[in-house]
Symmetry: D2
Subunit: 299 residues, 4 copies
């Protein structure tokens, strides 16, 4: 990591020593918010942001995201977490207690088209994407210069469907070595095996170049052109073993018309892909997303 | 037709006695615009608006829409049209010579959901949709009051798939009787037979409640909810014999999120359906649409 | 009120007997959410929706909107309200305790342009605007038919700046008689006196036909045309004694280009005005808006 | 210029040897299109794209942009141009005859905020902005690395209002030396003198960080925050001697809410500034803009 960005991250960490987040899913019933806010109050924590949603107040599932500021969190985090575990048990919660101080570690996978990678690196350099981009993995060489120019390790692992297993072994080895939290497929044009996906549940974020569920699969811009649509789009989603069927995080579209040929659709689409993927990654990093039954709640 | 709207239409006709339109498709080659503009100039016509597009200047198809003002068009239209026919022959054109004075006759088909019908009637009353809405046909009674309240003939023809033939015979009889130019399916929830469609090529405009090609067929809002999309949409298209596969005229979308249940999606979607269908109908009425190989050029 | 809408409102009331809302503003400090959620829990209330915002967790102002479901609220509301008053005192809160069962009473003011009025009536008829539209007041006759056609009382009070006092006296008399909660200026083209405004703080919602602060005052479309803007807009805001300077509730825009003359700008703009005002009125009615220092927090 | 981009430009030139453009403004009357299309046809030119607009067919001003493909244009351009001059005289045209082969030379002015510069360089590298970015001038050093990294000459000329004359002399000297066609102010935070502006009419493109005419002048994001707007925007315009009052080329907006502080408004706004300026520069470079009475026609 280069010195300039390192300094930014350290400043962020310094400012967020006392900042925590709680993510909760559980069966809905009265008293959940009362219990959690009482817990936070008892630790002198001040709620900064709070969002909640219930699929149905009568017997549905309740979701909560709270961001709070708590004096001496750095020292108390462990203790608070184990205290919260008891409360969580009482309400049968799935939950995470997140210390914002711990910046997430990202691996970016990319092939030959660099626009999504560039956007992420840009946002990262300008301090809008607060993460530790630990490495970039590609099956091609195109991205090497821009990545290494920012002092980020770059690994070129050529890939094709015959050597998928060996390739993924190397990749998993690297992910482990760098202790990666999130994998971003920034136009990585290889299919992942079920084993690779299974070992990273809700941790792999993809960008697909259509407004799903339209144009699942290959060559969506060519097919959009063929169908004569008046809108094209892009979709960012978590990767599951059903191709392009994972939980959708974000989508956006742009207007096109009869004059736009496939080449122009790709250019227009590239700009949507950039912003949609960047938003999805930021929301993930800020712990704003809860996955529930192949859908996302985005707080 | 009630007196107020009748007066508006008459005023429109008076103002457009000299207004004409040319729609042209032909193999592209040099000299087309020169020939047509020379033709118009020789008749003292002034070009008001002109749009053109070529799929490929080398051997592609050329499309043109010209709107012009020509002194004494009411008297000269026939003669000009036959003169243009010769020019058109030379370039192997498909073409229409349209006298704006002749207001198009619309039939609106509707079932029980009235929002699209209401929007069209609203735009019509406020003078934004210049057409003769000659009749409304429905398989239910819900629309009767609003339609008859505007002095538009309303025909209720109950329908189901067992009596499709008889129903369509009655409908075709009415379309003939009222000399209809355009059929607008404003959420008409019956499937049309291939014969009905074939007898009205590029004349039936439908609104489908999804951003096609996503969610072709029934219950698109329910399926959009199930898939967890972050955008919902609507599509207006010409009806062909492939369900929801006809040439797309216009599409639009709205942003939704995890809080929006199916009922809310329908409400949000209704507002998109309204505006998308209204735009498509207006463009058709203003002769802005050329259909080419299951796509539309919209000028 | 006609029978159909009356039935809808009664159904809404029946369904919302146990539904309440709390709106709170107070100096931010730890423990507010804990106290309120504990209060609700102690009354067996289940939180349905909760939104909060703080201008600054250190010494700023805290805002909260909670919607909850509470068994037997109809019987307990009074008692709960006075119990909450004590809690509110402790935190120096400004607050409202709202029983959703009590539908808000609206007066709509309109002049000769009816598109905003029509939109509100449409949303009201289709059940999207849950309110008691108690009367419509106009300085002209244009709106009478559409208003009385829906069995809503219509009062024509001709107005001009010389008789402003007398006109407003009549209006205030009617507002009192009908026990009005909200006044919607749906393109009412008369300026209100400071006295009228002062007697209805944050209760008068206006639609201005520009994206404020551009084109404050008269003839915004003409001035937008003169300036050659590429976007036009509309703004809904609470009325204060500074013309078009009150707290902005909602804004939206549409794209225009060099071909759009003033008449077309007005048509395009009308459609934005309709939707912007409708959203603002709905948010007000659902108690989603808190005014703070000439700005709005919209939850 | 680096080798990669040089190669792209040469490829573009090779492909566009026969590509020309005509831009015309003149008093409207019948026969203009006929004359021009006859002229092009007589030179075997094929019209690729044609757009026209008239402020008023009766005595208004007529505007036309035609893009055409003409065999051997490289050899015939001079001769055609002088032949067109006679035709132009007959209709009292203001006109340009443009050979697309001749790529425009750009100077970019920038201060310390680099996002607009970066966007232009990005589009340039990816082949979406076909121009010769001949030099970058700044009053600060921040941009040096990114500019020189692309082998573009970078000149740092410190500036302040006391030395404006001397600074502009140096700048004008450079513009002359590099034979510059267009000056792009990509967040250049110095005011230009009337002399500088006068010597480059309709050649200086600025990006202003508000949706003009709202928030003319300094600190627009701070003022947008203060006013509590729900939309922020950016405007690209030609520079005239009235601050932020020049002909608007393009505008766009983004939605914001009460949670967005000034810092967030700036981040959101930066992304609008980037795309709005890039579009404006591209349209200028493709000769799509005609300035008429402090407005733009954008074809």
């Amino acid at each position: 990591m280069n010195a300039y960005i390192k300094e930014k991250l350290e400043l962020f960490q310094e400012r967020n020593q006392n900042r925590g987040r709680l993510l909760v899913s559980c069966p809905d019933k009265p008293g959940i918010v009362a219990a959690i806010s009482q817990f936070l109050f008892s630790h002198d924590a001040n709620i900064i942001e709070s969002s909640q949603y219930s699929t149905n107040p009568e017997g549905g599932t309740f979701f909560l995201r709270i961001e709070f500021e708590c004096p001496s969190l750095l020292e108390k985090a462990k203790e608070m977490e184990s205290e919260f575990a008891e409360l969580a048990d009482r309400f049968s919660m799935e939950w995470s207690f997140i210390h914002v101080y711990q910046v997430k570690k990202l691996a970016i996978f990319v092939s030959q088209q660099l626009h999504c990678l560039r956007e992420l690196l840009w946002e990262w350099q300008s301090g809008d994407l607060i993460a530790d981009i630990a490495l970039v993995i590609s099956n091609h060489e195109e991205a090497r210069d821009v990545v290494e120019g920012l002092d980020i390790p770059f690994y070129c692992i050529p890939a094709n469907k015959d050597i998928r297993k060996q390739v993924e072994e190397k990749q998993l080895q690297l992910l482990k070595e760098y202790d990666i939290d999130v994998i971003v497929l920034a136009r990585y044009m290889q299919i992942l095996t079920p084993e690779f996906v299974a070992s990273n549940p809700n941790k792999i974020i993809n960008i697909h170049h259509s407004f799903l569920p339209a144009f699942v699969g290959a060559r969506p811009y060519e097919r959009a052109y063929g169908r004569g649509v008046k809108l094209i789009g892009a979709t960012s989603h978590y990767v599951t073993n059903d191709l392009d069927e994972g939980p959708i995080i974000e989508q956006d579209i742009a207007r096109v018309d009869h004059r736009d040929n496939v080449e122009r659709l790709k250019k227009i689409g590239a700009s949507i892909e950039r912003s949609v993927l960047a938003r999805a990654v930021k929301w993930h990093i800020e712990d704003r997303i809860i996955v529930h039954q192949n859908k996302t709640i985005v707080f």
